[in-house]
C-alpha cells in the first residue's frame, strides 16, 4: 500500500552543511548555495512510504535541507542499521548502490544521496535493521513532472532554400533533451530518395547549448570543403536542385524521460553553393527617429548565422556607452533589430561587428570557409571588428 503526501519544506539552512574543510565562503559558493536553495525550492517536496504488513519499519522520502533524503523510521537501533538504495532500473545483485551518506538523526536513519533523486523515478530501498537481521526492501515512486510533451520549436536556418554548402543546423527544443547517442534519432533524407549517409560530424560530446535545449548539427566539413577526400569519395551531403528533409525521430526522449511522441521534419530545397563572404558594406541600416523607441534595424542581403547574430553585433553611442535593449533576429535571419530600453538621443552611433560573424555556410566577414591556397592567401587580421556608423539627427 503506497501513500504519498506533500511535506512542508524543512528550513535548515544550507550554509550549515558546508563541509568543515571549507573554511571560507567565497562569493561563488554563496551563489552556488543560493542556486542549490532555488533548485530545492523548484523540486516538489514529496514523501512516499511503503510498509510491509506486520512490521513497523517504514521508509519514506523526505525533503531536507540537502534535498530529498531516504528516511527509515521506527528502527529499534538506527545506529546498528544499514540502508542502501538503488534506482529500480538497476540490478541490485550486480550493481553498486547509489552513492551517498548515512546518518542517524532524531532516532531515524537518514540516507542522503550524493545526487538528487529524480522526479518520476522508482527506488528500491534495502534496510538491514541490524547485522544479524534479514534485510527488508521497500519501493518508493517519486511523482513525476507534468506530462507536457517536449517538441521542436524552432529550426535554423529557417529559409526553405539553402545553399549546397550549408554548414550547420540549429534545432531548438521546448525543454532539455536527453543527451548521449543522439545521432540515431536524426536523419537527413532526400525527398523521393534515400537517407544521406553519415551527413553529420558526430562527436561524442555532442553540440548542445548550455540549457540542453538547442542542438547544433554540423554537416561534415570534409564533405563540404572542395578537394577533400570524404567529399571526393562520398560526394557532398547536399546536392543543388534536390529537396531534402531533416527528420527528428519521435522516439527520442527529453531529459525527464518522455518521448517526443511526434516526428519533426524540416523540408528544404538546395540551391547553388555560397562562397561569398558577408560584407557589412552591403548592409542597410534603418535609422530610428530621434526621441522614439523605434528599433534599430539592420538588413542583410542574405541570411546570416542565427546564433552568432546575437553575439556578434554591438551598438555604442558617441561616448562609447552600450545602447542597451533587446535583440531580435527575423525574416529568415536577414534582419537584426535592437529595441532600445531608452529613447534614442541625437548623435552619432557605432555598430561594431565581429569579423567572426558567419553565414550559414561558414563564410565569415574575416575569411571564406573554403580557401583555395593557389587563388588567395589570407591577409593578417588587423582588428577583429568592423565598424559601421550612423547618425540620429536632432
Amino acid at each position: 500500500m503506497m501513500e504519498l503526501k506533500q511535506m512542508t519544506p524543512m528550513t535548515r539552512i544550507a550554509v550549515l552543511n558546508l563541509r568543515p574543510a571549507t573554511r571560507s565562503v567565497s562569493a561563488f559558493q554563496i551563489c552556488m548555495l543560493v542556486l542549490v536553495a532555488c533548485l530545492n525550492q523548484m523540486c516538489p517536496r514529496v514523501s512516499g512510504q511503503v510498509s510491509s504488513s506486520g512490521n513497523r519499519i517504514q521508509a519514506v522520502v523526505e525533503a531536507r535541507a540537502d534535498g530529498n533524503c531516504f528516511v527509515v523510521q521506527n528502527l529499534q537501533d538506527p545506529s546498528a542499521a544499514r540502508v542502501r538504495v538503488w534506482h529500480s532500473d538497476s540490478n541490485i545483485e550486480t550493481s553498486p548502490s547509489i552513492l551517498g551518506a548515512s546518518s542517524v538523526d532524531s532516532g531515524e536513519l537518514v540516507f542522503t544521496p550524493r545526487f538528487p533523486v529524480q522526479l518520476g523515478a522508482e527506488y528500491v530501498i534495502l534496510v538491514q535493521p541490524d547485522p544479524d537481521a534479514e534485510p527488508r526492501s521497500f519501493r518508493i515512486v517519486i511523482p513525476g513532472e507534468s506530462e507536457l510533451r517536449t517538441e521542436v520549436v524552432n529550426f535554423f536556418p529557417s529559409a526553405d532554400q539553402l545553399p549546397e554548402n550549408t554548414l550547420r543546423f540549429y534545432v531548438q527544443f521546448s525543454a532539455p533533451m536527453q543527451k548521449g547517442d543522439i545521432y540515431r534519432y536524426i536523419r537527413l533524407k532526400e525527398v523521393g530518395g534515400k537517407d544521406v549517409e553519415l551527413p553529420f560530424l558526430e562527436i561524442e560530446q555532442e553540440f548542445w547549448s548550455r540549457d540542453s535545449k538547442r542542438l547544433t548539427l554540423l554537416l561534415d566539413p570534409g564533405r563540404i570543403k572542395r578537394g577533400l577526400k570524404p567529399r571526393e569519395e562520398m560526394g557532398p551531403v547536399l546536392a543543388a536542385g534536390k529537396t531534402y528533409e531533416l527528420i527528428i525521430d519521435q522516439n527520442w526522449t527529453d531529459a525527464s524521460g518522455h518521448e517526443l511522441g511526434k516526428e519533426f521534419a524540416k523540408r528544404f530545397q538546395v540551391i547553388a553553393e555560397d562562397h561569398t563572404q558577408p560584407d557589412p558594406a552591403t548592409w542597410k541600416i534603418a535609422v530610428p527617429t530621434v526621441g522614439s523607441r523605434e528599433p534599430l534595424q539592420i538588413l542583410f542581403p542574405g541570411p546570416l548565422d542565427h546564433a552568432m547574430l546575437f553575439l556578434a553585433i554591438n551598438v555604442v553611442d558617441s561616448g562609447s556607452n552600450d545602447v542597451m535593449g533587446v535583440v531580435t533576429v527575423s525574416e529568415q535571419e536577414k534582419k537584426w533589430s535592437l529595441l532600445p530600453i531608452q529613447n534614442w538621443k541625437p548623435g552619432s552611433y557605432k555598430i561594431s561587428v565581429s569579423k567572426d560573424l558567419e553565414d550559414n555556410s561558414g563564410n565569415s566577414i574575416g575569411r571564406p570557409f573554403d580557401v583555395d591556397l593557389f587563388e588567395k592567401t589570407e591577409s593578417p587580421e588587423s582588428t577583429p571588428m568592423v565598424e559601421l556608423e550612423f547618425e540620429i539627427p536632432k
Binding site: R19, A21, Q29, W86, H87, D89, N91, T94, S95, P96, I98, L99, F115, P116, Q118, A121, Y123, P176, Q178, K179, G180, E197, L198, L201, E202, I203, E204, Q205, F207, W208, S209, R210, D211, K213, R214, D220, P221, G222, K225, G227, L228, K229, P230, M234, T253, A255, A307, M308, L311, A312, I313, N314, S320, V323, V327, K350, S354, D356, S364, L373
Partner: protein, 363 residues
C-alpha cells in the same frame, strides 16, 4: 583611437580576470563541475579534467601516486549500468564521457554525467585496479589550478542569451604542455590549443591552426578527433586523427602562439569512418599507435617511418601511407588508454549496447 584604447583596457581586464582564475592554487573542494568532458593524466598523479560548459580545464593533484600497475586486471561488466546505479539513474540517462588510467597504479578514472539541462550532474568516478570497485573521486583536500579557455566576445545587448560552447574533443599532457582540441557549437573554429603547465596568468594558451593540403591545394581546418604524442628522432610530435581518416603528424616545436602550422598527412586510413581514441606504445623496440574507429575496427599502425613517410598530397583510392593491420579480436572498442608498457584498457560496447571495461595485451 579611443575605441582602440577601450579594446586594450578590455584586454587587460580579461587578462586580469583569467589571471585571477588560473594563477592561484586553490583547494579542489571548490571544483564544481557543471559538465565533464575529456580527462587525462599528467606526471605524478596530476589529473586534467575538462569542464566544457565552463570552458575550464582543471589540473588536480590527486595524490594518487602509490602502488604499481603490476598485476592489475581491470575487468568490469556493464560499466555504464554500474555508473547509472551509483548515480541513481537509468542507463540511458548517464554518459561515460572519457576514461583515463593513472599510469602509476592503474586506477581507472571515468568522466561521467547524468541528465541534462539544469538537472545535469557531472563528476569523476574511480575504479580500484585491484578490487574493481567504484568510488567517487573526492576533490576535498586536493590542490588544483585551473585555466579558462578564451571565449568569443558577447554582445552587451544580447547578454544572457549566450549559448556558445566549445566542445572539447581530446586533451593530453605532452612535454609540459596541455594540448586541447576543440570545436565550437556556433562559429566554425576548430582549433588546437597549447597551454603551458603550471598554468599562469600570462598564458591562457595559444590557438594553433593546423591545415593539411589534402590535394595540395585546399586548406582544411577540419576538427581533430583524437590525438596522442609520439617521439620522432627525439622530437615530440602529435599524431592527430581526423574524420575519414587522415592521420597527420604535427611537430610540437612548431606550435607557436597564433600561428598556422602545416601538418603532414602520413596515412589515409579509409572513408566512412571516424577515429574514436588512440594510444601510442612501444613493442619489440618499435613504435605503434593503436586506434579505435567507428566503422573500421581497431587499427595497429606501424610508426617506424612516421618521421620519414612522404606527405600524401594526391588523390588516393582506399588507404595509403603508414602500414597498419586491423586487430580482429577487438570489436566495439569505444575508448582506450594505456595501462602499462604492455597492457591497455578498453571500453567495449557489445551488440546489446552494454559497455564493458577490459584489460588487453597491447598487440
Amino acid at each position: 583611437m579611443k575605441y582602440f584604447s577601450m579594446q586594450c583596457l578590455l584586454g587587460v581586464m580579461i587578462a586580469l580576470a583569467i589571471g585571477l582564475n588560473c594563477n592561484r592554487s586553490e583547494a579542489a573542494d571548490d571544483v564544481k563541475l557543471t559538465s565533464a568532458g575529456p580527462i587525462a593524466f599528467g606526471p605524478g598523479g596530476l589529473l586534467l579534467v575538462s569542464d566544457p560548459m565552463q570552458a575550464t580545464i582543471y589540473a588536480i593533484e590527486t595524490g594518487d601516486t602509490k602502488g604499481t600497475v603490476e598485476g592489475v586486471n581491470i575487468d568490469v561488466e556493464d560499466v555504464r549500468g554500474k555508473v547509472a546505479s551509483l548515480m541513481g539513474a537509468k542507463s540511458d540517462d548517464v554518459r561515460i564521457n572519457d576514461l583515463a588510467i593513472n599510469p602509476v597504479n592503474g586506477t581507472v578514472y571515468l568522466s561521467v554525467s547524468r541528465g541534462s539541462g539544469t538537472a545535469e550532474i557531472s563528476t569523476i568516478l574511480t575504479i580500484d585496479p585491484k578490487s574493481n570497485s567504484f568510488n567517487e573521486f573526492d576533490f576535498a583536500g586536493k590542490k588544483s589550478t585551473r585555466t579558462i579557455l578564451p571565449n568569443a566576445a558577447e554582445s552587451k545587448q544580447a547578454r544572457g542569451v549566450n549559448q556558445r560552447l566549445e566542445a572539447i574533443t581530446d586533451m593530453a599532457f605532452v612535454d609540459g604542455q596541455v594540448f586541447v582540441a576543440g570545436l565550437s557549437n556556433e562559429e566554425f573554429a576548430s582549433n588546437l590549443r597549447a597551454i603551458s603547465y603550471p598554468f599562469n596568468n600570462t598564458d591562457s594558451g595559444s590557438s594553433i591552426e593546423i591545415y593539411h593540403g589534402a590535394h595540395g591545394k585546399f586548406e582544411t581546418r577540419s576538427p581533430i578527433r583524437t590525438f596522442a604524442a609520439m617521439t620522432v628522432d627525439d622530437e615530440v610530435n602529435l599524431l592527430a586523427a581526423y574524420t575519414c581518416t587522415p592521420l597527420v603528424r604535427i611537430p610540437v616545436g612548431q606550435l607557436q602562439p597564433e600561428t598556422k602550422v602545416k601538418g603532414t598527412t602520413i596515412a589515409e586510413l579509409g572513408n566512412r569512418n571516424r577515429p574514436l581514441d588512440m594510444v601510442v606504445y612501444k613493442k619489440d623496440k618499435k613504435d605503434y599507435a593503436l586506434m579505435a574507429n567507428s566503422a573500421r575496427g581497431v587499427m595497429k599502425i606501424d610508426l617506424s617511418n612516421a618521421g620519414t613517410q612522404a606527405a600524401i598530397t594526391t588523390k588516393i583510392d582506399g588507404t595509403e601511407g603508414l602500414p597498419y593491420e586491423t586487430i580482429k579480436d577487438l570489436t566495439g572498442v569505444m575508448q582506450l588508454d594505456g595501462l602499462s608498457p604492455t597492457q591497455g584498457v578498453v571500453l567495449i560496447r557489445d551488440e546489446s549496447g552494454k559497455e564493458h571495461l577490459k584489460t588487453i595485451i597491447l598487440p
